[in-house]
Symmetry: C2
């Protein structure tokens, strides 16, 4: 029954990814070894290699998950047909990073703090590894362009001021997301939801 | 002549810090060794140890320089007696990260790209090292409070809307600084000066 086998494989892979996320979140990418990840997952030292050729492959998988989960709410709003305001786009951008738990594509719960701590580390990795920077830059540009498109629709619909340059407005949304993400994990400023509500209510826009 | 000796010592120390910054910027903190730094500086393998007990001490020195240089323009504006607008504070916050070269306390030129690439790495370090997080969090809080104070003066003077919460406004300024810093080094969006000008001109505030 190949279907069951595939499901079991997927569940085991998810356990290894979750264990790696806990290790990376505590110790960092570079202070964590494959045997550390196996021990955290409670599997044999060789087991992770049945799913990932190297620690770098696990980092890439976690970076991809983090990106998708963090940007999902703003991408969904921006890719719709509505004409959201800049404040609504900012509030959506802060959605995942204001929460405690999200669910990955397979429905497994993911601790948001762990996810964000891994995301900050992928920024450093992107500076020295083409393998990390390539997909990160491509994903960033896709979301940025999608937000700019939504702001352009908003200008046409009158929900966004005509003086707002969509490309620059999109960079502000992305900048606030990254900046508040960093404030939450590195500087203990956890009231991101309150900030989002203020911004949404028209505090600065 | 102890003064000359102290000057020479300071110049040599600055050369080692500059060499470390180049190495860290290219390869990252963890892929750089003390012998790598000595080779980059063109000194003997033991020479860096006359100035720093470990690579971690050099990382702390560079993190301190980066923090001071990045926040200097907005701290100066916020610590003055003027009542700047939110837009003026954002423009000041983007000052250093929009430039190409700055000068450190001793007057040595520092490449801004290198400085910012090191800054992104200190964020990851702050997540796992108390020695990095302590001063970083303290410095962040000092600048944030200083910006909040300036916004409070602005509310009293009428240059800042009464509806703007100074603490939250300060987090927006810090968030945009960190977000645009990351966009410049990791996502190739270098027109930070243009963004600052737009924000200053009242694009969103």
């Amino acid at each position: 029954m190949p279907r069951l086998t595939a499901e079991r494989r997927e569940a085991k892979r998810a356990e290894i990814v979750a264990a790696a996320r806990r290790c990376f979140s505590r110790e960092g990418f570079h202070q964590t070894s494959m045997p550390d990840i196996a021990a955290e997952a409670g599997v044999s030292a060789g087991a992770p290699y049945r799913y990932f050729a190297s620690k770098e492959e696990i980092i890439l998988a976690i970076a991809g998950d983090a990106f998708r989960l963090i940007f999902e709410p703003v991408e969904r709003l921006a890719d719709g047909t509505d004409a959201p305001t800049l404040g609504e786009l900012v509030a959506a951008a802060l959605g995942t990073i204001s929460g405690e738990t999200v669910r990955d594509a397979a429905g497994h719960p993911v601790d948001v703090d762990e996810l964000l701590r891994c995301a900050v580390q992928t920024w450093s990795e992107a500076l020295r590894s083409d393998e990390v920077r390539g997909p990160a830059a491509e994903g960033f540009e896709r979301v940025r362009a999608s937000i700019a498109g939504a702001l352009d629709r908003g200008r046409a619909a009158g929900t966004v001021p005509a003086t707002l340059d969509p490309d620059r407005g999109a960079r502000v949304v992305m900048g606030l997301l990254h900046g508040f993400l960093l404030q939450r994990v590195a500087f203990g400023l956890t009231d991101t939801a309150g900030l989002a509500a203020d911004l949404h209510a028209g505090l600065i826009m």
